[in-house]
Amino acid sequence: MNFEVHRQAESNPKLIKVKIDELANLCTNKRYRIMEFCGGHTHSFFRSGLAGMVKPFIDLVHGPGCPVCVLPPGRVGMLLDLIENRDDVIVATYADMMRIQTLEGRSLLKSGKRAIMVYSALDVINIAEKNPDKEIVFAAIGFETTTPPTALLLDKIVKNKIQNITIFCNHVLTSPAIYGVMDLLDEETSPDGIIGPGHVSMVLGSKAYDVVSQKIQRPIVISGFEPLDLIDSLIELVKQIRKNKNDVSNLYSHVVKPLGNEKAQKLISKYFEVRPSFEWRGVGSLKESALQIKGEYSAYDCEKKFNLKDTHLNEHPQCKCPMILLGKSSPLDCKLFDKACTPSTPLGSCMVSSEGACNAYYNYGVEK
């Protein structure tokens, strides 16, 4: 289907109304708790107005699938210390990463020419060519969606023997995050079902979730990002929950294949290995939940080349991001929300990215 035609069908208000009614009928006896794992879905729910439309019968729990939100401030602190100590280092990274602010107000965004925003990982090569006397650090961040571009960059660096690029790797893994969050939730706060990520699944494949759904005993529905995709996913989840089923359904099959993108997976496993453990903001340390550059490529690993030490930075004591990331609190429960903490002065990470729950609540004016 032509892209524009497809989009128009996706936002057909009459069709949406029919689906909302169908969902409402399925929920006449019980409210259901559904976690959308991915920040992109959180954003779509609010942006399209769908969050408000399903509110009478569904409790949406906003999961930890926003890479910026789960990154501990210490990781940004490591980069900020590096550019403070080394005049020859330039950090290149995605925009959201630039906004993360430490408690004392430092951020890459405020580092002037020492931090450059890129939209594609491969842009880093141009920056390195233009600055042959500088060390370019690519601050890589994201779930499995953004890992392949970093692997591709690393592939080009290795093959072309580019000496002045290193990678500061913050790539994290979806399944350990789902386990980690589910472990921390009790019966009252635990979701009845999960909307599985779309773009991540494009890389991983839908089959990767079979073991996850069995382990957590919850249905998982892989969803696209248009309102119609999301409402279909909610309907499918509620149907499964009512039948006590814990299956994986792929409703984003025009993009997500059962085995995913095998070429990308190969490239990732060539250059990356699983870290023994990684700190997640709000969730704590999770075993085997992130990637690092393999030992044989350590010349391109920023942490090794510059001998960076893990840094811990304190959070604002009143910040509720940890509880929000677990779906235990709403942004509206936080005393800082819309007072000290706004998108222009983000104290907690959930306010930084448009995929963060606090940012979505603020921008889309969600009120009690």
């Binding site: 057909n12 109304k17 107005g49 439309m53 990463m97 998108p343 004016g365």
Partner: protein, 335 residues
């Protein structure tokens, strides 16, 4: 307010507005009670109108125009906020060491063309040269003079609940073009800035009595900033309909791809008209006769409302969302 000037004080959003209200208007209040983009010199309705506009844009030459054209058309559009016909401008040029003279000539020629097209004079100019460690460019500050076209008063104080909101053309193309060009996002799209004067399209509408109650060009901060500036401190709320927003496909796709909020993206040739509902059909019919207004749409209305959120968007799927006036810069999302 923070203690130093930040880049965000210049993005046309809430911090810009607060800086102007809390600092500039407090110390340097505008004459004759003006709260507009331009100000009448006399209190009588047929008097002179004056406006000042600073232009700093990177890159100085961009698809669809350059800083020279922008400096003249931006000034003309600000004069239109008081329903005035432009007479001429004076301009100050801050040139940076290293600026190629050919580039300067191109920019001045663009200014000359706009002035000629509008039958405007160039009254006076000044140049200064400063050093720079960055790519050399220039800044232009213009002061525009005009005379009111009609006899009726327009401005934010004349808007009220029940009025329609008309947008004169497709939104977002300037901001998306500049952002793409500045950050070298190599999008294979033929995006162009909409930088243009709205004078010829708007002039006749100001002649005819009380057709228009308030007019703004939606520059920095986009449509959202116009709505907040108009509704702030008044018990008004703007209800906009997503499906009625005129947006070119290329701009829409770019915004989706980059995660930008289209209503916050800058324009340089889009006007927002607030008018009584009965005048809407006539105004739209008139706008549609012009190239720059052929996509004009009534995008919503003003209603009574005292809540925190001053802008409500009725979404395409029939939902609603409030839109906060943020300070966030237009930075793309990760994925």
């Amino acid at each position: 307010m923070s203690k130093v000037i930040e880049a965000r004080h210049g993005n046309g959003g809430r911090m810009t507005h607060e800086l102007i209200s809390n600092m500039f208007h407090r110390i340097l209040p505008m004459a004759n009670g003006s709260d507009n983009d331009s100000c009448p010199i006399h209190t009588s309705t047929d008097g002179l109108v004056v406006t000042t506009d600073g232009h700093a844009i990177d890159p100085i030459i961009f698809p669809g125009g350059n800083i020279g054209k922008l400096s003249v058309t931006g000034t003309i559009n600000d004069l239109l906020a008081l329903g005035a016909k432009p007479l001429g401008i004076s301009a100050g040029f801050i040139l940076q060491e290293g600026l190629p003279l050919d580039t300067l000539e191109t920019i001045l020629q663009s200014m000359a063309k706009e002035l000629k097209d509008h039958d405007m004079n160039f009254y006076s100019g000044d140049t200064k040269v400063i050093q720079t460690i960055e790519e050399p460019g220039l800044f232009i500050t213009t002061t525009g003079f005009g005379t009111r076209i009609g006899s009726s008063l327009i401005g934010p104080s004349y808007v009220k609940a029940g009025m329609d909101i008309i947008c004169t053309g497709p939104i977002g193309s300037h901001g998306v073009t500049i952002l793409g060009h500045r950050n070298q996002f190599e999008m294979t799209s033929e995006l162009q800035s909409d930088v243009q004067s709205l004078f010829f399209m708007m002039a006749d509408l100001f002649k005819e009595g009380d057709l228009i109650s308030c007019f703004r060009d939606a520059t920095r901060g986009g449509i959202l900033s116009v709505m907040y500036e108009i509704c702030q401190n008044r018990s008004l709320q703007a209800v906009l309909k997503e499906t009625r927003l005129p947006i070119e496909n290329g701009v829409k796709s770019s915004c989706d791809l980059l995660g930008l909020e289209i209503l916050e993206v800058a324009n340089e040739g889009v006007g927002i008209i607030f008018c009584e509902k009965k005048n809407t059909p006539y105004i739209l019919k008139h706008l549609h006769n012009f190239k720059e207004g052929r996509k004009a749409e009534c995008i919503g209305e003003l209603v009574d409302g005292s809540g925190r959120a001053k802008v409500i968007l009725e979404t395409a799927i029939g939902g609603q969302r409030a839109m906060a006036w943020t300070n966030a810069d237009n930075l793309p999302r990760i994925c």
